[in-house]
Symmetry: C2
Subunit: 296 residues, 2 copies
């Protein structure tokens, strides 16, 4: 499995916000460095948890530039670059490559629903052709509960055949473990990454590549431990204990809105008010929800 790329624990990083609800660059860099220090293999910034689709193209580019300028190795950054507009997906992807960031996580265009397989294939194909950079590695982003545009196996097959090496993997955030294992079986050499923290361990045992997850904002060290030692019989008890803590953390942030819950806990842990802020349409947990979460 060592040829899988990307492989490891990637944190779908929360984006701290300033008082005017702009990305807080300084706090973001602090958080990204902390996550790497805790054992993350990389930072999947500007994803669903990072509220990227609530930011403009310029705001997204600026955040990635700041991360690179702060000295975070470009190969540890997996930015989301897939948006509704073809030409903006191209611009964001080219921009990442211009910074040396070659692996991106790409949503399908998510405004039109019920698009055909030809249309979905054409979307990704047109992006790759327009970007026209052999360094590009795309992680498809399957999250039908938000995109409402699932990525069918037939489209993955066509993309991998048409652009060998480019479509490197998939982040499967459907929560459907059968879909993840079917992807592993159907596409050898394709990096299947769990989008839900508790599913990384069973997916690794089936040949998966790791995870891109939200709860890793809180429990990166445990996830990293599970990833590094899941196959080591001498560490089985420790792996089991770390996995149990991951499950507890995930359950804890699933009682109320997940992103708001993770933000509340990060705010409590690190003190900065920017962790709790959210840009509409998302809103912070209510005072009652926060109190119940923190008491839990």
């Amino acid at each position: 499995m060592s040829e899988l790329h990307p492989r490891g624990v990637f944190c779908a990083a929360v984006t701290p916000l300033t008082a005017d609800l702009s990305p807080d660059h300084a706090q973001f860099v602090v958080h990204a460095r902390r996550l790497l220090a805790e054992g993350c293999d990389g930072i999947a910034l500007l994803g669903t948890t990072g509220e990227a689709n609530s930011f403009s193209t310029g705001e997204r580019m600026a955040l990635l530039e700041v991360a690179v300028a702060a000295g975070i190795a470009p190969e540890r950054l997996l930015p989301g670059t897939g948006v509704a507009a073809l030409t903006e997906t191209v611009a964001l992807t080219r921009h990442a490559l211009s910074l040396g960031v070659a692996t991106v996580v790409m949503l399908p265009p998510f405004y039109y629903k019920g698009v055909t397989e030809d249309g979905l294939f054409a979307s990704y194909a047109e992006v790759v052709q327009r970007v026209d950079d052999p360094r590009l590695r795309v992680v498809l982003y399957h999250i039908p509960q938000f995109s409402a545009v699932p990525i069918p196996f037939a489209v993955i097959e066509r993309l991998r055949a048409a652009f060998p090496g480019t479509f490197a993997g998939i982040k499967d955030s459907s929560g459907d473990f059968a879909n993840m294992t079917a992807l592993v079986e159907r596409f050898p050499g394709f990096a299947v990454l769990a989008g839900a923290d508790p599913l990384m361990l069973p997916l690794l045992q089936k040949g998966g590549a790791g995870c891109i997850t939200a709860t890793s904002n809180l429990v990166a060290a445990d996830l990293a431990f599970v990833f590094r030692h899941f196959a080591d019989p001498d560490r089985a008890a420790e792996v089991e204990a770390a996995q149990a803590r991951v499950v507890v953390a995930r359950n804890r942030v699933s009682r109320f809105a997940q992103i708001g819950s993770i933000r509340t806990l990060l705010g409590e842990r690190y003190g900065e008010p920017g962790w709790r802020r959210q840009r509409p349409p998302l809103v912070p947990l209510s005072a009652e929800e926060s109190a119940a979460l923190l008491a839990g």
Copy 2:
């Protein structure tokens, strides 16, 4: 009802494309002028039918600039300015106002699903506050089959109370006539516009304000006739005949993909290949579908 604004027949204009799938400015202006000459009260450009969400912010701004520069009166232009990212919705709306275009059609932010009423209210409120221009008039855009973010009555009520005069109307593309009539009854002075051509007539009879529709790309004159004469008993037979043609046209473009069907018929009528092109994720009708449509 004369105080309703906007009021009339507004065409959700198709965007012709050049060979590289960019908006064809020259052909767009030709089409917009033709629609106004056929009797449309205005052009609702850059909507779902216009594939706006497949264009970048810059492409959207350029198309609106071209329409204004071509001499189309700004008060006849109703551009879509609502996108997923708050700051881009603000930028697009400010840009429209900078051109003298004060009435915009605004989707809710459409990436996150299941957003709270507080979050949806905050999205629109934050846009209005950031734009900060008393000229602004917002037509809410309710199209749950694509946005997957419906606009509840409670949110409309809060927005109208918080920003008197700003939230002028709604384009209801749900196809749910009961929802449209309930909107008319619940919100006096609120311009309810049908998103489906055949429903404009019955909605007008209930106090609606008109329509913003796709089939008007093909049958603007008939829709305009229905709008102007629906209450005139001396023209009842002509209104009935025009409405029947509208229904036939709508049924004709509903057999295959609607936007592709309208594009095929426009391409057949006007000859330019740019009518049939589509930007992914949408794709043109297949040759077989086109042939069946044109034979019909």
